[in-house]
Symmetry: C2
DNA sequence: TCATTTACGCAACAAAGTTGCATAAATATT
DNA sequence: AATATTTATGCAACTTTGTTGCGTAAATGA
């Protein structure tokens, strides 16, 4: 979907910074951390603004956070196939390559339901797989 | 297991700092982040030393990292029941409470095997569950 | 075009994490 | 037990990551 459409759909003002961030995501098809975006948009979008854009995007459901075992969280576009799969729930898995450190959404793999020990009420599931990606194989 | 035994078993020198860190873990039974340990051991162990202790412990298999969706990773003792379950693999799940932000190992729940899309060679699995813990229920 | 609302950029700060190096402490050797 | 060797610690200095306040600019609505 086009950046401008995404913004309208999520009730967000159409600003240059936001559009550029969305373009960056759409051209990579992998999860991006703040510092990667900052680098890509150096001189175009301020560092602090970038933090605020990411926060807003997450709050509005444009992006989702992916927990990371290294320096900082990453973000990926929510529901790539939003037109088709309208009731997209974000309980899909993520894969992180130990070689190149890139993280991908595995959209077509839903985390199975599991019986969890007593006393815990589970509302979210994050499955992060580690290994070697196609490129690095 | 006693701190000193753990250190010997993992081929680590028996130092005051390391012992205190292990004591801290054994008295809490939850995952701890660097800043929590730093606070608990203020004046006892230097901040930088603490980073190095955690790194060493992870490398030697005393602790394991738990990815987090917030500010920094957490650590938990590996294989609580190492004496019994000797071939402990760290593919157990973790639970993080959205109320108190505490993270626990769910040692008795092993992540099931799953068929992953082509091209990815999976060697590690991190399942982070979110929700409400017993105390906060 | 003008008013209003919201986002942006900048400065200043706080928190998290790293590196180098001299000294202290732990282990190994005699 | 004393000494040599190895390894860990503490401190300073620095980088990176994330936050807050505020005046200005840009986006939207009238
Ligand atoms: Mn995803
Ligand atoms: Mn664990
Ligand atoms: Zn790779
Ligand atoms: Zn709780």
């Amino acid at each position: 979907m086009k950046p401008e459409q995404i913004l309208i759909q999520h009730d967000l003002r159409k600003t240059q910074g936001r559009i550029m961030v969305l373009q960056e995501f759409s051209k990579h098809d992998k999860a991006l951390a703040h510092n990667e975006l900052q680098h890509a948009l150096a001189g175009k979008v301020d560092r602090v603004t970038l933090y605020r854009i990411l926060d807003q995007f997450e709050k509005k459901g444009v992006l989702h956070k992916i927990p990371d075992d290294e320096v900082s969280v990453k973000y990926a576009l929510c529901a790539h196939n939003h037109e088709i799969d309208h009731q997209h729930s974000d309980d899909h898995a993520h894969f992180k390559c130990n070689d190149c450190s890139e993280t991908f959404c595995i959209d077509d793999f839903t985390i199975p339901n599991m019986k969890i020990p007593e006393g815990f009420k589970v509302t979210e599931k994050f499955l992060l797989l580690g290994g070697v990606c196609k490129k690095c194989a």
